[in-house]
């Protein structure tokens, strides 16, 4: 299972990454090398094995839904690259 340059460019777009033509070229080669290494896992029959998503035995953690103080608006906006009033400002998205 190889990955083509076109697929790399498509996945990069999904991940909102810009790829220069040189990057697309070198990433495709690197990724194929890495994906090829992943093929090793095919040696193992895992048809009856449960997947592990959490390494220690643990079920859902619930707590009461209680209203508590949260970050002050000014603190929350202090790192904003751009703001308008109490909002984060982004480039226009609706015509």
């Amino acid at each position: 299972m190889g990955i083509t340059r076109k697929e790399v460019e498509y996945v990069a777009h999904l991940a909102r990454l810009k790829l220069s033509p040189e990057d697309a070229e070198s990433f495709t080669a690197r990724l194929n090398q890495i994906l090829n290494y992943f093929e090793k896992l095919k040696e193992l029959d895992t048809s009856n094995i449960e997947p592990t998503s959490h390494s220690i035995p643990m079920v859902n953690a619930f707590r009461e839904d209680v209203v508590e103080p949260s970050l002050d608006v000014e603190e929350a906006l202090a790192n904003a690259p751009e703001r308008e009033g109490n909002f984060f400002k982004v480039p226009q998205i609706i015509e």
């Binding site: 999904l14 991940a15 909102r16 990057d23 690197r30 990724l31 449960e50 220690i56 790192n79 690259p81």
Partner: protein, 487 residues
């Protein structure tokens, strides 16, 4: 003997007897930083006034006989992915270059409650993705034992600073070996606790099912003191575990009689530097002399660990790093034309290094429709097999001892252009994270070139005490931990 060269245990005794103040210790640490950090580059952020004001506060507390504990007034360094209120936290990435967090990570809060002196923020591989600290966007850290050599990674700054006395102890994080590898390369102790033992709240995420915070220290006792301070349930992290925190220092008895130590045969195979294998085997022999029983065990799926890890970690990273979009914090670069999508892309292009972008693309690919089953789900199933290997081994032994790295530290620049080669050097450390186990590095010798070699001790979930017991008994019968690099 300079104050910065001493341990937490020694310094807290001196502070208590009035032989020095926290201000004295902090000044000594800063003097050391100004002497050697130009060469080593362990710190990304320091501020002597900020540190001294905390030291004065600690001295005041002690005078008033308040908050007396072994960490009161002790200078500690923090890996630069732990959020520190009002102090820049960059994750060694351009994308967070000017980020100043509005709150403290829980581990930072806990240390501050004990009255430590935060010395500064320590260098690392960008977003903790790397094994050498060459991946920092702000330049590499160098190994105090040999400036041409890597300090290990990703917590390279945390290890180098402890080793060269630029802090008394530090915190790092470990997703696939990022505490244990640099501890080994720099000749210090470092423990990755059981998954869930320490809160991850306010810790910039790499791979959430693998990440843990842990301490690095000059010896086993200091490391145990630090873990005791930061461990425990946190309601802000739903994966932290509701279990009491033991007094880890109580397990430092020096007695290992009757303990069974397993040597996994798959960790002593062709490809490992014979110098490493011999050094670690000698450490096991030493423990045998002290009364432990050493047996052979098997972890048959070891050879599948790297592929499993390098599927799971980038997949989780691709999701975690989606938040860096130039909207709420961090870097923003306008696109051309200036649409929202172009802004995202321009920001992430300028903000992330090639290695970070590579891992995001791998992760996005292996999680995408059509490939999920073949890669991510498959890796999670193999993760089950790896976990079971350990369960079976631990039916025969109390802990296992292995090498940390297949080779001694190598020179900077050796593997930076070959990611797969670098990934393979994680072979002995990633299994511990995949299985969620605690694992610790303890210095156990030096290479021909006089570079440190560590051994790894792993035990069952939440059995950090057993690890400390073995580590301490070994350490007390050797003097590796007393050696200092000449910088």
């Amino acid at each position: 003997m300079r104050l910065c060269e001493l341990t937490i245990t020694e310094l807290s005794g001196m502070l208590e007897r009035g032989e020095c103040s926290s201000v004295d210790i902090t000044k000594s640490v800063y003097e050391r930083i100004s002497e050697v950090d130009k060469k080593i580059h362990a710190y990304l952020w320091t501020n002597e006034e900020y540190a001294l004001s905390q030291a004065k506060e600690a001295d005041k507390k002690r005078k008033a006989r308040e908050n007396l504990n072994p960490l009161l007034g002790i200078p500690i360094g923090l890996k630069d992915l732990l959020l520190t209120k009002g102090v820049p936290t960059t994750c060694a990435s351009r994308i967070l270059e000017n980020f100043v967090p509005p709150f403290d990570a829980t581990v930072v809060k806990k240390l501050k409650e004990r009255g430590v002196v935060v010395v500064g923020k320590l260098n690392m591989d960008e977003f903790a993705m790397g094994s050498t600290t060459e991946g920092s966007a702000f330049g590499p850290t160098r190994n105090p034992w040999g400036l041409d050599y890597i300090p290990g990674g990703s917590s390279g700054g945390s290890a180098a600073a402890v080793s060269s006395d630029m802090c008394i102890a530090s915190l790092g994080t470990d997703t696939g070996g990022s505490i244990r590898q640099p501890a080994s390369c720099c000749g210090v102790c470092g423990i990755k606790p059981t998954y869930g033992r320490v809160s991850r709240f306010g810790v910039i995420a790499y791979a959430s099912s693998l990440d843990q915070v842990g301490p690095l220290g000059k010896n086993v006792r200091d490391t145990a003191i630090m873990l005791e301070a930061v461990a425990g349930f946190d309601r802000c992290d739903s994966t932290s575990v509701k279990m009491d925190v033991p007094r880890y220092t109580d397990s430092l008895t020096g007695d290992v009689k009757g303990l069974k130590i397993g040597l996994p045969k798959e960790y002593f195979v062709k490809g490992i530097d014979p110098e490493i294998a011999d050094t670690v085997r000698n450490a096991a022999k030493q423990l045998e002399k002290l009364g432990a029983e050493v047996i052979d065990v098997s972890l048959p799926h070891t050879e599948y660990c790297i592929a499993t890890y390098y599927i799971i970690a980038p997949a989780e990273a691709s999701s975690n790093l989606a938040r860096y979009d130039g909207v709420r914090y961090g870097l923003r670069v306008s696109g051309e034309p200036d649409t929202l999508i172009n802004m995202y892309k321009a920001t992430r292009d300028r903000g992330f290094s090639a290695e970070v972008r590579r891992r995001i693309i791998i992760g996005t690919y292996t999680l995408s429709a059509g490939y999920y089953d073949a890669y991510y789900l498959k890796a999670q199933k193999v993760r089950t097999l790896i976990r079971r290997d350990f369960e079976q081994a631990f039916q025969k032994c109390d802990c296992v001892i292995t090498p940390v790295l297949p080779t001694p530290p190598y020179k900077l620049g050796t593997k930076i252009n070959d990611p797969l080669e670098m990934y393979l050097s994680d072979i002995f450390t990633v299994s511990c994270n995949l299985a969620g186990l605690p694992g610790m590095t303890v210095p156990c010798g030096f290479s021909k070139e006089n570079l440190p070699i560590g051994m790894q001790i792993m035990a069952r979930h939440f059995e950090e005490e057993k690890i400390f017991k073995v580590a301490y008994a070994y350490e007390q019968s050797t003097d590796w931990h007393k050696r200092k690099p000449k910088v």
